[in-house]
Symmetry: C2
């Protein structure tokens, strides 16, 4: 996982307590729920959201661990719950090399387990009084995730009229969640309003960059590296930045559109679509957009942050830019 990396060195201990806390949280009087919860948590995940949150809290050395940790847990639990539901929607059999909850226990139990994990996140944070802003932000994450997924689901296989619709969707699905993780860490650390806003913006920008890198890798990488075949997004009807750009500015636009909008596209057509995108300058455009988001992220980091925290945040931004697995 990402968190083994040196940029997370200053929160290494917290990340290790987080694992225990996650297992504790899914312990239910209903054995089946405990089993599923432990399976989901042990199947890993990068813990990137709690890591960013925890890093932000390190701006203040005088925080009580019992106050800090439940929010780290809640962030990862909300993420896990949303993945459990996503896997039901996608009918996915595996995630990160392990069987999905729906594959192992069926769709019904998976939907209910997702609900349970969402609720556990909110129940756990209710025990401390984090104030209305943090509670509201956490609930809004779940609203955004479901809105983003509904947009993607309902408007799949359709190239949007405007690139803004794409940005709105990935903000709801990815960037707002990462923005909130950084923001609430800053609030917990009692940073100034300006610093809180800056860390939210930092999170938003690296979140957008992260998603666009994913979009690019889906086209340029292969199953050995990312665990799914190239063009999987197109196959699933998820329209990504390079595709939208190629349609708007590249050659063979109509041919590309016809393939993209065909839910029964053949493998040959899929490869043709990938080539149309690759032969345009759309991958370069997407890479350029990533660089812009990452520069914006790095530039907005307040100088007032402790040096070790600031350096870690910069390293994370650089890491996202260099990701190629």
């Amino acid at each position: 996982m990402l968190t083994k990396n040196k940029m997370f060195f200053i929160i290494k201990k917290d990340l290790s307590s987080l694992e225990n806390l996650l297992h504790e949280t899914v312990t239910s009087p209903v054995d089946l729920i405990t089993d599923i919860g432990n399976h989901l948590i042990s199947s890993g995940g990068k813990r990137i959201r709690p890591a960013l949150y925890l890093l932000a809290t390190k701006s203040n050395p005088n925080l009580d661990k019992d106050y800090v940790m439940p929010l780290a847990m809640a962030l990862e639990m909300i993420h896990t719950a949303s993945l459990v539901h996503d896997d039901v929607l996608d009918n996915a059999a595996t995630r990160r090399g392990s069987a999905t909850a729906n594959a192992k226990w069926g769709n019904n139990i998976a939907v209910l387990t997702g609900d349970y994990l969402f609720a556990k996140a909110f129940a756990a944070i209710a025990k401390n009084d984090y104030g209305t802003r943090i509670s509201e932000r956490l609930a809004t994450i779940v609203c955004d995730l479901s809105e983003g997924e509904i947009l993607q689901n309902h408007f799949g296989y359709t190239i949007p009229d405007s690139i803004d619709i794409y940005y709105e969707r990935i903000a709801k699905k990815t960037a707002n969640f990462i923005a909130t993780s950084c923001e609430i860490g800053a609030i917990v650390a009692k940073l100034s309003a300006k610093e809180v806003d800056a860390l939210r913006e930092y999170g938003y920008c690296i979140g957008m960059a992260f998603q666009i890198v994913d979009d690019i890798l889906d086209l340029t990488s292969d199953s050995k590296k990312i665990g799914k075949p190239a063009g999987n997004d197109i196959l699933q009807g998820v329209i990504t930045l390079p595709v939208i750009h190629a349609y708007k500015h590249g050659e063979n636009s109509e041919e590309l559109k016809n393939i993209i909008e065909n839910r029964q596209m053949s493998l040959e057509e899929l490869n043709r679509a990938i080539n149309i995108v690759k032969n345009s300058n759309s991958i370069d455009f997407a890479r350029q957009t990533v660089t812009e988001f990452l520069n914006r992220a790095k530039n907005i980091l307040p100088d007032s942050l402790p040096q070790s925290v600031r350096t870690s945040f910069i390293e994370i931004a650089d890491f996202i830019g260099s990701r190629d697995y």
Copy 2:
């Protein structure tokens, strides 16, 4: 709906504002979500949870409406969200005579809409500071609902060893939610700790009674009255109080068990199972249990409540006992 009844007279105005608030809450920048939300809310529902909550708040005449109403909305929204997910799990085509979300928009959109409605409930209440106890209770409702449903789903078509397992399941699925509705109304009304506990216990008891009445009606009523064929619970593998009692204390126990545990039972076998239960004294036993719960509910109501509130609560308990539709 129940709430047209005179026992809800003192909260008539609040129940009418609630309808507007519910429609406002489901308004989303994503039109599709607004459409689904409005469909779900307009399809009705008895609003029994917010009604009980609002009734409890009437113990204090000096409450600010803007503080009181969001919790009424959250209770109904959590209930609606859970029904949307239940309908996906049951593959239900209609509820209360209207098309279900899954029938109208597909399972994927329905799962996501349920998530969205859960989150909206928590986002809306985050705007006011209701304190940790109320937040924790609301989140625990969702934990209980999913645990109860998982128990029912996973241990369906199996007569439990002990009647306590049945009581635990219906507490999680029904009674705890109604208990919490009364309890948080009492907290909002700033009643004493003893009164808050008493109203929670009242809610728990009428919730248990309500569910057992449902169990009885499923066996004794017909599709004209309750909108589903008699024995629907048995058919769905949901084991109810009269069935457990008949198995433990009636005749033809083994025959009953064999039918109940057979997922492919014929209509003839189903009718035989219903008759075995009816020919035992198990329906009477269940009715007796309902009476005991309702007496406990009425006896625990504090004398210190305003007369109009106390009378309404007693009328509700009596109404549950007399329900036969």
